[in-house]
């Protein structure tokens, strides 16, 4: 150990004074085991403490002033909205096969209000796997040749120009609507949007233009919104000679509307724009009602764990709770709500807080156990959806263009008969009106409040400064352990040599061997590099596999696994055989490999925490214990003590859990039950990850999988 070396040296000459910072470093490295245990425990504990440490949300931007104006939405507007709902749900309107009638109805209603109306035709664009486009901005869509007339969607867009505004900014209101098989909820959401829209055409306080996008959701809500945004932000001016939508007879039908309207100038078939988007709201109404209260659910997670500004959520929450009396709901991991261990943990925290409070009355950090459990469930889902990197609704498309957006889903309490319908129209409309009014008040774009946060309830959040502590504690031990392993591996061989000859002789004669020994880590680095290279190859493989036509997910997955193993073996044989212990002198080889692995994991986790914190956090939870504990099984078996036996068990368990497919099935089983687990599911999941350009995919392929392979190779190390 370093210490012993120092002591042996100190006998001969007066020891030079060591700087405190160096001394501290040496101390930490020498106690790396203790430090890593303490850090990991503290890291996990801190994660569980986060619901306790969550702060209440507050509105940070003064200009928002939610709820300071009394709502102007009256029953007149509600009945207007009701009229539209009736017209849309009228069976006559559904006669057309393509649902064009309902688009016409909506457009006509918008025109009657004096809004500018246009239709946006789009071809649903399937998400494609672009291996190199993970972090680039969304590309303007490629033109596909095989468009047919039947496969296009129509977005209806209405724009109100602010009467005295300068038209530099706009607020977007999105209502997904499937004209072919619309539920009553969708019609109702249109009704709410229409009632707000009809109010906004009359008000004078508008400073920003209002865009109402009725997104045709027959090819998915997200695809419609994304197509419209693509046209808005990165339009193609050139259209190649592909069959255009204008050629299709149905679309031409659509534009007969022009003739109907007397103020024809308001309608055009060209794409209409307003200014820079300030914020976007996606409004949905859920059909089935299982709630006991009128509830509004907020979905905020966009791609790669990006969140909208917290102020936007706060405004909605404030207005819904304090003005409209709606219950606000954020997504939770439901299985966690019933877990007894979480409850008992909550109770422990509660009682601890009680004790602390009795000690010093100003320490008030406790929360009730039930609240704790709910907070943890919300936090877990918040972490989960952010880590997944897949947007939770159409609002995700906006975030790609740096527009703050959330999805609001209203779940009414009772069946939507006449009275309740009016009530939900009024309250929902007033909520939307209030939010739009607040955003309209904004002079600057959203910047005051947090962008990096985790929600523990609609009105509580954990900011980046707090949740980073848990992560930092988790990974803090990694560099120390790596250093200590490196020192250990070097010094052990050093000492064995030092015993045989005098220290002076070492310095004189064996300088060459020392130089070789100090570069020995390169050998292990080569191994680690090869494995990471393999990881990169593995993450590129699905792109080629997906080109194979008519492949079921299970077979694809199998091909993937086979190819991966094959490539690993090929790489292994081509680039030396690092797994074999070639030289007998390098009995500590595994320690060096572990050291390099750990440092790479540290770097990988650190980078990932910048890109997507939640992924890094979950990854750290899995990988840090595995990396720290990894030790050749042979050694543990040989030792035969209880401690080594425990370690052996832990290693085997962690080795299974940390394998990405295994982790996936475990999680899926926990959430949905183990009954319907299918091998192909993992393939589907991976497919969805790359389709959404999730960085989690890269993380799994390039960090977690190689790390797992390296750890397993350490476990089965022959020395």
């Amino acid at each position: 150990m370093a210490e012993t070396k120092e002591k042996s040296l100190s006998d001969e000459k007066p020891k030079p004074r060591v700087r405190p910072i160096v001394r501290l470093g040496i101390f930490l490295i020498s106690h790396s085991f203790l430090v890593s245990v303490v850090c990991c425990t503290a890291g996990v504990l801190a994660l569980f403490l986060l619901p306790v440490l969550a702060k209440n949300t507050y509105i940070s931007e003064n200009a928002l002033m939610p709820g300071s104006a009394s709502p102007m939405l009256s029953n007149q507007h509600v009945s207007d909205g009701n009229r539209l709902v009736k017209d849309l749900t009228n069976p006559n309107s559904k006669s057309s096969e393509t649902g064009i009638e309902s688009h016409k109805i909506i457009a006509q209603y918008m025109l009657d209000l004096g809004a500018e109306v246009s239709f946006h035709k789009f071809h649903p664009q399937m998400n494609q796997f672009h291996p190199l486009h993970f972090f680039s901005s969304p590309v303007s869509g490629k033109i596909q040749e095989n468009y047919s007339c039947s496969s296009y969607g129509i977005n209806t867009v209405g724009i109100i120009r602010a009467p005295r505004g300068d038209g530099k900014e706009a607020i977007v209101l999105v209502t997904p609507y499937n004209a072919l098989k619309s539920g009553f909820g969708e019609a109702l959401s249109l009704g709410i949007a229409y009632s707000v829209f009809s109010l906004l055409t009359q008000v004078t306080w508008l400073a920003k233009d209002i865009i109402w996008l009725v997104a045709d959701s027959q090819y998915g809500e997200y695809a419609a919104v994304a197509a419209w945004l693509r046209e808005y932000q990165t339009p193609k001016f050139s259209s190649l000679s592909t069959p255009n939508a204008e050629m299709c007879p149905d679309v031409n039908n659509l534009f007969e509307l022009k003739g109907h309207s007397i103020s024809g100038s308001k309608f055009s078939n060209s794409f209409r724009r307003a200014g820079t988007m300030a914020a976007a709201l996606v409004l949905k109404v859920r059909d089935q009602n299982e709630q006991f209260e009128d509830t509004i659910s907020i979905y905020a997670e966009a791609s790669n764990g990006q969140m909208p500004n917290l102020d936007l959520i706060n405004v909605v929450n404030y207005l819904a709770v304090h003005r409209q009396g709606l219950r606000v709901n954020v997504e939770k991991l439901w299985p966690l709500l019933n877990s007894s261990w979480l409850k008992s943990l909550g109770e422990i925290f509660e009682s601890l807080a009680k004790v602390a409070k009795s000690l010093y009355p100003k320490w008030k950090f406790g929360i009730p156990a039930t609240e704790y459990v709910e907070g943890t469930a919300t936090l877990a889902s918040s972490l989960y959806y952010q880590a997944l990197g897949v947007p939770t609704g159409p609002h995700g498309a906006f975030r790609d263009y740096q527009v703050d957006a959330i999805t609001l889903e209203i779940s009414p309490k009772f069946s939507l008969d006449k009275v309740w319908r009016n009530d939900i129209l009024l309250r929902g409309g007033r909520l939307i009106e209030g939010v739009i009014r607040s955003v309209n008040n904004l002079l600057e774009k959203f910047h005051q409040s947090f962008f990096l946060y985790l929600l523990t309830s609609p009105s509580k959040f954990v900011s980046v400064g707090v949740y980073m502590i848990a992560f930092a504690l988790l990974i803090a031990s990694l560099p120390m352990v790596a250093a200590s392993l490196y020192v250990d591996a070097n010094s052990s061989s050093n000492c064995s040599k030092g015993d045989s000859s005098t220290p002076s002789a070492i310095t004189d004669t064996d300088e060459h061997s020392i130089a070789i020994r100090s570069w020995r880590w390169l050998n292990s680095a080569k191994l680690v590099f090869i494995v990471h290279l393999w990881g990169a190859i593995v993450s590129l493989l699905p792109y080629f596999i997906s080109q194979i036509p008519d492949c079921s997910p299970t077979t694809s997955f199998m091909i993937w696994v086979l190819l991966s193993i094959l490539s690993l073996l090929t790489l292994n044989s081509v680039l030396a055989s690092p797994l074999a212990c070639a030289k007998a002198t390098q009995e500590k080889e595994w320690a060096l490999v572990k050291s390099v692995t750990i440092s790479l994991v540290f770097i990988g986790l650190g980078l990932m925490s910048v890109i997507n914190f939640a992924t890094a956090e979950i990854g750290a939870l899995l990988m840090v214990p595995m990396c720290l504990l990894a030790r050749p099984l042979k050694l543990d078996v040989r030792a035969g003590t209880l401690r080594s036996f425990c370690r052996l068990i832990c290693n085997l368990v962690l080795g299974h859990i940390a394998f990405p497919p295994a982790a996936f099935f475990l999680l899926k089983g926990m959430l949905d039950g183990f009954g319907n687990a299918n091998v192909g599911d993992f393939w589907m999941w991976v497919e969805s990850l790359w389709a959404w350009n999730s960085a989690t995919y890269l993380f799994i392929g390039m960090v977690q999988l190689p790390c797992w392979v390296l750890c397993v190779s350490i476990l089965f190390h022959t020395c």
Binding site: P16, K168, S265, S270
Partner: protein
């Protein structure tokens, strides 16, 4: 009528002296043009001058200096055609500006006629009293050759000569000068109509030598009346009338050429007008037009009756030839409010402030002038464009009443009388569009920059919603009936008479081409007969609408090539109304009418492309509007028809535009830039200095459906002090100006004499190219976290301290020295404080103190027993607290 001659009855030393009128003297030596510069041509190296007169204007010139006595003569040849009604004059006046009340004047007036006999009228004014006309018939043909006309003036007598023949003599009865000699009556032209088909009328002048005693100041005026060889006209010979003597010249000369109609040109004038126009989308356009004009003045423009002094000072100080300043709020809706009429193409502006000016100073002074001008306008410094034109915009300026008040101060009646009474702030600012504009033109700025006439045009364009009540819209049947309105219902006020200072005060109601076509006037089918039937009653008692006040006149537009139907203008004279009977015009619609305004040939819109904080692109897309198609096809008969579009775009420097990335798409096909861009002028931006300017001349085929220009940019990084206080809003890119030079937005109304008097309508007749402004864009720029500086300072300081500390350490350290020092230290006793500490710790450990050899190794920091003890004590304390509190 012309200005009256000038008899400067003062003395001075002698400057100019010549024995005879010399043909070789050039015009510029003694004279300069006072008005109608474009109608003066000098030939023969400036020794001969032609004054031209046509329908638009005449011309005049005057001597450079004033004289107190002398012999003044000039050779004149009159126009050799029928110039009845036109008067050519050569006269001396004491007050060329016509400001002083008691001026003196000596006139030669050549009354126009359609052939012999030609009449020469002489007149003498003293103390503003004229009426001493004497008419002579020429004994020769004045139109065929030059003849000399001269006046000798000394303190004894005044003699009018024609070709050395004295024709009229006055005794100078006052002691000095001619101030108070005569009385008289007004002069008239005979009231004959001018036959403009003969225009232009050219009179020629030669012999510009002046023989006179120049007037300097009144103290030395007697000098001009003594008899000396230099002042030979004061000699004895000229005290008596001697026809055989060669006679000599006289005072300051003023030569004018004009028609009787030109009288107004020379006085300060103010006129107020209001144009009201119903718009297709149930709104109403009100366009106020106030025009003040100041004539050229020799007296430094110090005295103005009506004209705002501030403006004339501005013009003189900064040598502004033309300037326009506009404040705008809201957007002009080109689609429903039209873009092809004079109002929309010259008064519809982009939101914010726009200022441009043309200077009349040397090139290197322009920037300084511009800077001073913008400073004195308390505006923002805008960067230069090209030539002597400067252009600047401020798109983020909010416009409010504070901008209106100084604007109103320039009006002679403020908003206390006349049409300006309607300017009710709440209703103005409650409108959808509001643009106030100040346009000034200094008509003629000579090299001295003093004598210039200024025309100040103040316009206010507002778009209002006649009635905000929703009541009408509720009934589906009446949904499309245009709202009825009256002035009092829109503005909440009525006009009670005109501003007494205004020369003319009128209100117009314009029904534009589309509306007129829709209304189908009964006699519209008759084509030309519609013009004849103008005065018939049925033009305002129409089945589809009703006017509450009968118009005083109705004008029909002259047929234009752009449109088949013609617009109609109703004129109302405000003069007729008074406090007791205020003017309040109203329009009642009876049937639903819907029409479209004439739009610009291409509808332009501009937007930002891309996302993120780093890069982006500006796209200008042009779409053909339905209207032009017919016109285009009509014009495209002659082979290749091209539509010229000029794009002018200013981009602030923090948006770094890559001009090479300009791409052109025509009809959805990417095309080579050189195919369609005929000319491009780019001046790249300079960081923190000037913005980038791009001027593009596009030549598009007439049949073009869509065209688009894209240009990429990088968002620059700004220094922290360059951010505005609300940096997170983003930055504005001022709107691009799209103009169509092939198209002219003029409205020519059928000829009528009184039309010439209306500045608003003459403004409409001007041929200005159709222009439209695009939207203002908001570029979100990366903004720093403004609390960052503190963090940055802290981090930077730490890094610096660590870096320099360790560097110094390394540089200073001498290993051998250190080792020696350590040894010496080990040999020596330890210091007092460590000794004390070690004693204390020994006590704590309950052990005897050991002498310290070396600092304790790091592991000895934590002593398990010590830790245990501390924990025990803390636990005890906590327990105590828990159980006994």
């Amino acid at each position: 009528m012309f200005r009256v001659p000038f008899i400067q009855a003062e003395t001075s030393k002698i400057i100019a002296m010549a024995k005879r009128a010399d043909h070789s003297v050039s015009f510029d030596k003694n004279y300069h043009v006072t008005w109608g510069n474009s109608h003066v041509t000098s030939v023969n190296q400036g020794t001969e001058v032609h004054l031209r007169m046509d329908k638009a204007a005449g011309a005049g010139f005057e001597s450079n200096v004033g004289y107190a006595s002398g012999y003044f003569q000039i050779k004149i040849k009159l126009p050799n055609k029928d110039f009845s009604g036109v008067v050519v004059a050569f006269y001396l006046t004491s007050d060329p500006d016509g400001k002083e009340g008691n001026h003196d004047e000596l006139d030669f007036e050549f009354l126009g006629s359609n052939g012999p006999p030609f009449t020469l009228q002489t007149n003498v004014f003293s103390n503003d009293k004229g009426g001493r006309e004497q008419r002579f018939h020429h004994w020769f043909d004045p139109t065929s050759d030059f003849h000399t006309y001269g006046i000798v003036w000394n303190q004894h007598q005044l003699v009018f000569y024609v070709d050395k023949t004295p024709i009229r003599v006055f005794k100078n009865n006052t002691k000095i000068g001619v101030r108070s000699i005569w009385n008289g009556e007004t002069w008239a032209s005979g009231g004959r109509k001018i036959d403009w088909s003969q225009a232009p009328f050219v009179a020629s002048f030669v012999g510009f030598g002046v023989t006179g005693c120049q007037f300097q100041n009144s103290a030395s005026k007697d000098q001009c009346y003594i008899s000396s060889p230099k002042l030979w006209w004061n000699g004895d010979k000229y005290l008596r009338l001697d026809p055989t003597q060669r006679t000599h010249q006289f005072l300051q000369c003023w030569i004018a050429f004009g028609s009787v109609n030109e009288e107004g040109q020379q006085q300060e004038e103010f006129s107020e007008e209001l144009l009201v126009k119903p718009l297709p989308d149930h709104k109403l356009l009100a366009h106020f037009h106030f025009q003040s004009s100041a004539p050229p003045s020799t007296s430094n423009g110090c005295h103005h009756h009506l004209f705002p002094k501030a403006i004339s000072q501005l013009v003189q100080k900064f040598r502004v030839k033309e300037m326009e300043l506009s404040f705008t709020q809201g957007r002009w809706n080109y689609e429903s409010w039209g873009g092809f009429d004079p109002i929309s193409s010259s008064n519809a502006k982009a939101p914010g402030v726009e200022l441009w000016a043309v200077f009349d100073v040397p090139q290197h002074h322009i920037d300084a002038s511009w800077k001073n001008l913008t400073h004195s306008l308390r505006s923002f410094l805008f960067p230069p464009a090209s030539g002597n034109v400067r252009y600047g915009t401020l798109p983020c300026e909010a416009v409010c009443t504070e901008n209106l008040t100084p604007w109103l101060k320039l009006l002679p009646c403020r908003d206390k009388a006349g049409i300006a009474l309607l300017l009710d702030r709440p209703s103005l600012y409650g409108g959808f569009y509001h643009s106030q504009r100040l346009h000034l033109t200094s008509t003629e700025s000579s090299s001295e920059g003093i004598d210039s006439g200024i025309i100040l045009e103040q316009t206010l364009t507002v778009v209002l919603q006649p009635n905000s009540e929703r009541a009408i819209e509720v009934h589906a049947s009446e949904k499309h009936v245009q709202p009825s309105w009256s002035l009092s219902s829109i503005f909440g006020k009525q006009v009670s008479g005109r501003c007494v200072l205004a020369k003319s005060s009128s209100v117009y109601l314009l029904l534009d081409r589309g509306l007129v076509a829709e209304l189908k006037f009964p006699n519209k089918e008759n084509g030309k007969s519609a013009a004849n039937g103008l005065t018939s009653e049925n033009f305002w008692s129409n089945p589809s609408f009703e006017l509450s006040v009968n118009p005083d006149r109705i004008f029909l537009e002259e047929s234009s090539s752009h449109s088949k139907s013609l617009s109609i203008l109703y004129m109302f004279q405000v003069e007729k109304y008074s406090e007791s009977e205020p003017f309040d015009i109203g329009l009642m619609w009876k049937v639903p009418v819907a029409w479209l305004c004439q739009q610009t040939p291409l509808h332009a819109s501009r937007f930002l492309m891309g996302s993120g904080n780093e890069r982006g692109a500006i796209a200008i897309s042009l779409k053909s509007t339905q209207f032009t198609e017919g016109f285009m096809s009509a014009n495209s008969k002659d082979g290749s028809c091209e539509l010229r579009v000029d794009v002018f775009q200013v981009v602030p420097w923090y948006v770094k535009v890559y001009f090479h990335s300009l791409r052109v798409f025509v009809d959805q096909q990417p095309r080579a830039v050189s195919d369609f861009i005929e000319k491009i002028h780019v001046s790249p931006s300079k960081d923190k200095m000037s913005p980038g300017v791009m001027e593009v001349v596009l030549k598009l085929p007439c049949r073009v459906n869509t065209a688009a220009l894209t240009i990429e940019f990088d968002k620059g990084f700004l220094r922290i002090d360059e951010y505005p206080p609300d940096a997170n809003q983003g930055f504005d890119i001022p709107s691009a100006i799209i103009s169509f030079p092939n198209f002219h937005a003029s409205m020519v109304f059928l000829e009528d004499d009184s039309l010439n008097r209306s500045p608003l309508l003459s403004k409409f007749q001007e041929k200005c190219p159709v222009m439209s402004y695009t939207e203002v864009l908001l570029v979100p720029l990366t903004t720093p976290d403004f609390s960052m500086p503190y963090n940055v300072i802290t981090i930077t300081c730490t890094v610096f301290a660590l870096y320099f500390g360790s560097l110094l350490n390394v540089l200073q350290r001498r290993v051998a020295e250190e080792e020696r020092f350590l040894k010496a230290k080990a040999a020596k006793k330890t210091g007092r404080l460590p000794l004390l500490l070690s004693k204390l710790s020994a006590k704590l450990r309950g052990r005897r103190r050991e002498p310290l050899h070396s600092p304790p190794s790091s592991s000895s920091f934590i002593n398990s027993k010590l830790v245990l003890k501390v924990i025990l004590v803390a636990g005890l304390a906590v327990g105590w607290q828990y159980f006994f509190s």
